[in-house]
Every structure is written in structure tokens, then in C-alpha cells.
Symmetry: C2
Subunit: 408 residues, 2 copies
Amino acid sequence: MENNIHFEVKESLLKYKNELFKSISAERAKIGYYDLPFQDISPFVEFEKGFSKDIENIVVIGIGGSSLGPKAVYNFLKPVKKFKRKLYFFETTDPLNIAQLESKIELEKSHFLIVSKSGSTLETIALFKYFLDKCKKEQFSFITELDSPLAKLASSMNAKIFEIPKNVGGRFSVLSSVGLVPLVLAGVDIASLLNGAKKVYNSFFEDGYLKDTLLKKALFFAKNHQEYNINLLFAYSESFKYFVQWYIQLWGESLGKKQKDSILNVGVTPIGLIGPQDQHSFLQLIVEGTRNKTVSFLKIKNFKQELKVPKISLDFLQKLDIINDISFDELINMQSDSIKEALLLQDDIPVDEIIIDEVNEEAIGKLIFYYELLTSLVGILIDVNTYNQPGVELGKSILKDKLIGKAD
Amino acid sequence: MENNIHFEVKESLLKYKNELFKSISAERAKIGYYDLPFQDISPFVEFEKGFSKDIENIVVIGIGGSSLGPKAVYNFLKPVKKFKRKLYFFETTDPLNIAQLESKIELEKSHFLIVSKSGSTLETIALFKYFLDKCKKEQFSFITELDSPLAKLASSMNAKIFEIPKNVGGRFSVLSSVGLVPLVLAGVDIASLLNGAKKVYNSFFEDGYLKDTLLKKALFFAKNHQEYNINLLFAYSESFKYFVQWYIQLWGESLGKKQKDSILNVGVTPIGLIGPQDQHSFLQLIVEGTRNKTVSFLKIKNFKQELKVPKISLDFLQKLDIINDISFDELINMQSDSIKEALLLQDDIPVDEIIIDEVNEEAIGKLIFYYELLTSLVGILIDVNTYNQPGVELGKSILKDKLIGKAD
């Protein structure tokens, strides 16, 4: 994994590097996600070993932090991996989506994972009831905090329960049971996934290459978060489609906050783009629009998929013979490089570039942990509580009142 | 279709309504998309009638404005419609995506639509060559400007050509041949689609309900585009997943510009959200983050899909019995209303709400034309050329140099 930073970070800012590193090192003792790369995965591996071969579908019922992580990893690997079982994600109360997705699944050959940290997520419980009505109790397992109401219910059903540690927040939980259980059942190499995360952890905390890079990038993003209040992640492969969704939750929900001991609303808005498609959609706004955006390019060094543009010369289109015989993987990365260079020529758009080696478990594990660390660092610097989300409660309580009013 | 505006638009601003209406009425004579609802669709309908019943797949090769529109309409209708033929969209040079998508399609039962306004879009020509190498010439039809190199090539191949009018820009072209050809082949009722657009056109240009609403909304968005430089479209149904992508291109590429006769970079950043999922991802940032966002909710009045939460009381989760026996369509709209009310209580987040009647062709036709009009209005007010995209050229020319350098 490489991360090339093309913006200048001033000396006056870099002097805070040590202090920032101390702060995150202190936070590490309290916040759970830092330890996840080092956990014992044998309970997950054993669970999969004993799992019925007749089960072809794993149906994840969860929303937000309970689904975005495993969905990102699963879809990232999809083009290169022969899975043992298919994963399906029920994440919405939209009846059209529920009916359409359900029609694709043979329920008898499915096992359901009910995933909710609090154990009382409204959408998740609604969908759980919906499928409990149609399936056998034995078809359900649970992923939740150990003392949640859902865990108690699961115990009373004699169902399997996997713990989400209390100090691991939903959006930081992909490397906990939340991600590992569905992914191991799908046949993902979860040891490699964690190994990727471990490598980034070590590089950052043990004076490796990423320490300097991440600190610099975080200092720049935080210092300029009012001017550059939008961060674009411009990912050059359709495989990142759901990874950028995961990033959006991680970044937006962690950093969009009232500051601690202040009345100020702060935060940076995350946007995920997929190249080259979004060159034909969003690029114009980046190049000529308001200067409030940083851009992080994300590239795959080796796609390991040898497809070429055939050597065909088309009448009237001979000018495009320059793409003949080029491999698509080379072409897409040349596209990314060209856009990067075009933005650098603007000279007031901060740009950096992340390159992963290939599409596999280790690479996505690295990327996940890289973004988690970056989020934590920026959170410290803009003085917010990175790990809570008090802003979502009001809507929930209004809904509750409406539902009680209706039930009366 | 309803549009309820919950922010106050001051009298001092409303006095510009007439002038704005005059400007857009003048623009109407030059810009092509305004006429599309009234075009003769019989050539498309006839084409479909004569089309081979053996063709099961329509493969659209296009990117940006050449794919986002039909993709949005097709996916919007997917949960409620039995299509005549399936649509597939090849939009990227990502070799993993090409290989994965290709593996799903029987090429012999497929017909290809090569869609490019200029007729020389690099990605599209690369993919065209790729499939031309594997298929027969008879399997291709073309959608392009009449004098483009692609049209000339198509003529020399004796292939069918559908015109994209010169004065209809890519991102405003969904109601032209760009959308209508693939959609009619899929079995979409394109007359209803245009009829929806016509109703919005008439309501706006002939003193109907939408005239006042759209003018007000545009005046507010434009006047405050520096403070509220992000527009969120928060759509409550998975069916809108690709519609919001279409909106993002329309809004971002039209309004992210250097001002006419000025050196200023302006524009508003579009973000598409899907509810309720993004309540668990992006909502925190809206409620507590920087106050730089307007929020437009988008709801479906009648889902016509009767699914209910079963009347099951779960031990330890009896508190959630309040959702028992509620239909999912009612639940999702109560969720949307609750979040809307929560945002209104913040009193510094401008909110409006768009409600469509149901999921059908007319509704999406209305929505498309509504957003096209809104975009044009804001473009006039912030003094940009809504219909060009000069900012994307630099990246293209850098890529060309790289490709020529490589070929040499």
C-alpha cells in the first residue's frame, strides 16, 4: 500500500506531529477497534467448519455499521473470488426492496444473521420479525452486545450469539464479529483480512512508513477543514462501490459533530466517487466548482485480469487507434493518473493518492484500518467525540412518539 | 407530485420571480431538452415492434449522460415491472467489472446500443471494440449526433442510428433517444414517461402549481449557494438508488462552473442519500455537522406493496411491539417524516419535501423534468453556462498525450 501526498504541509503544522501521535496512542487504551486485528479468530473459523453445507445463503439483517462493512468487503472481493455461500443484505424498510430481494432467495437454504449492537435497532427488529414469521428458529444467529435485549432473546431461543465488544462502535466494527461472521461463512480469508489491518497498525504505531504519512494528512485535513469541508474519495474500480459507502459512514458520522465543550458545529463531508464513470459526472464540479474539496485517488496496482482493447481500426474513428491493444487495467490507471495531473495543475485542489497492490483480503484489510486511523486522527484534531452519534436520537424519538400515537 | 417547501423565502428575493421566469422562457428557444416531452415517439415504438423476440438482453455501452438516465429509470421501475428484455450497462474500463458483467450475459441473445453524443467517447469506443471483436455487426445499433464519427461509421456498417439532437446535452438527454431506445426495448411505457414530463412542463410554464414552487426553491438555493453549498437529496426508497446518481451528474456538472465573465469558481455539491439506510450513516453529519447543507426529502406516497411487520412479541424486546402489524410502506414514510421534523427543529437547516404518487413511468418522468427545470433555474441565477463542461477537457487531453506517448 502506498499513499502519495501531493499537497504541502507546512512546518508550522508538522510540529504538532508528536503531540498528535501521543493523543492517539492514549486513546488506543480505551477504544476497542485498535485491538481487533490481534483478536483470536478461531471461534469464527470453527463456526464455519461446523456449519451446514446445505446452507447456500447467508442473509445479513442489519443497517448502517451492521451491514456496510461486510457488504464493502464482500463486494470488493466478488469479481475475483469463488464464494462458499452468497451474502444478502436486508438493510431497509422499503417494501419494494424487501419483496424483490426476498424473491431471489430460497429461504430453506438460508441462515439469518441478526446484527445490531444495541440489540434494539428498529429496522433490524422489524425485518427479523418478518423472517421469523416465515422460517424456523434454528435458522437465526445473532451478533450483538452481550447484555443487549437481543442477546437475552437469543439466549432464550438457544441460538448462537457472537459478541460485539462494548467499546467498538458500529462504524468501526467491520473487523469484529460484525464483519468476520458473515465473511467467514462466505468463504473469505478473514486471517488475511486482519493481517492487512495488522500491517497498517504496525506501520503506524511502530514508526513505519504510514506513521508520517497519516499524521501529515490528518494535520492538513483538520487544519483546513473549514476551507476544504468536503473530502472526495475517487476510487478507480467498480469493486470499491460499497467500500466508498462504508467510508462515507465512517467519516461523516465520526466527524460531523458539535465540538466538545463548544457550541460549534463542525465536520467534513465525505463523498465517494467511482472512476472513470464519475469523470463524466462529478469531475466538472471538482475542476471548476467552488474550491472546498480535497481529493484522494484510490487505485489498484495489479488487477490480475488480462483484458485488452482489440486491435481494431474503425473508419472515421482512427484517432482512437491509440487505445488499440492496450489492456484495460493499464487504461483505467492511466485515466486516474491523467485526472490527478489535471487537478494538480489547478494548484488549489489538495490531492493525494492511495495505491493498493491487488484485489484480495489483505489489501482491503489495510485500507479499512488506514481509514479508521485517519478518522481517529482528524477527530482528535478537530476536537470532537469521534465515537458517538447523539445527533441521530431526536429523529428516533419522534418516530417512537408517532408509533405509540398510532398504536393507541 | 407535491413539493412542500419548509424554508422561508424573503419578499426581497421573491420580487425576482418574474424576471427569472422570463429568462428561462427565453432559454427555452435555444436549449433542446425543453421540447423532448412533446417529441414523436413512433420511431422508437416501431423499432421495438420490429425487434427480434429472440433478443433477451439489451447491452447499453455508454458512460455519464449516456447511461445514468436510462439506468435510473430502469432500476426505479425494476421492483414493480415485468420487463420484456433485460438492460445491462457497461460504463467502465475496469477489467474486473467488464469480465464479471460479461459472464452474466449470453452474447448471442444480446443487442448492443453504442451511446455517445460526440461519437468519440474513449471508454465507449474501447468497449465497443471489445464486443465488436466477439459479436456480429448486426448486433449493434447506435445513438449519437447525426454528423459524429460514430454516426458515419454506423452508416458504413448499415446499422440503425438514432439521433441525439445537437442542442440536448448529455445529462439532459434521458428523455431523448438516449433513454427512450433502451427503455422501449425493455418494455417501459415511454409514452407515460414523457407524459409525466409534460405535466411538469405544463404546470411550470402554464401557471400551474409548480411554477411558484420551483421559482421559489431556485431563488433560495441560488441566493444561499455559498452558505449552503451542499444539496442533499434524501430519497426514501432503494428504488431511487440510481436516480440520485443521475441527479448528482445533472446538478454537479451543470452548476459547478466558472461564472460567465468572471474568474470565480461557483457551484453547489450534490449528494444522494437513501433512507432509512443513510439515517444510520449520514444523518449525524446533517444534524450536528457544519451548517452548509440543504435537504430535499423524496417520498413515495403509495408503494402498492403490502408487506407488514408480523404481530410477534419478542421477549426482552416488547418495547418494539409498537411496530407490530404496521405495513412497511407506512413505516418507511413515518421514518422520513420523523427525520424531516427532527431537522426542522434545528431551525438552521433548509428543508423541502417532494412526494411522488407511486412507482411508475409517469412519476419518474415528472421527477426527471422537475429536476431539469430546477437545475436550469439555479444555473441562470448563479450566472453559469448550465449546459457545457469545459472542466473535463484537460484530463482528457493529458490522457491522450499519455496514450500517444505509449503508442510511439
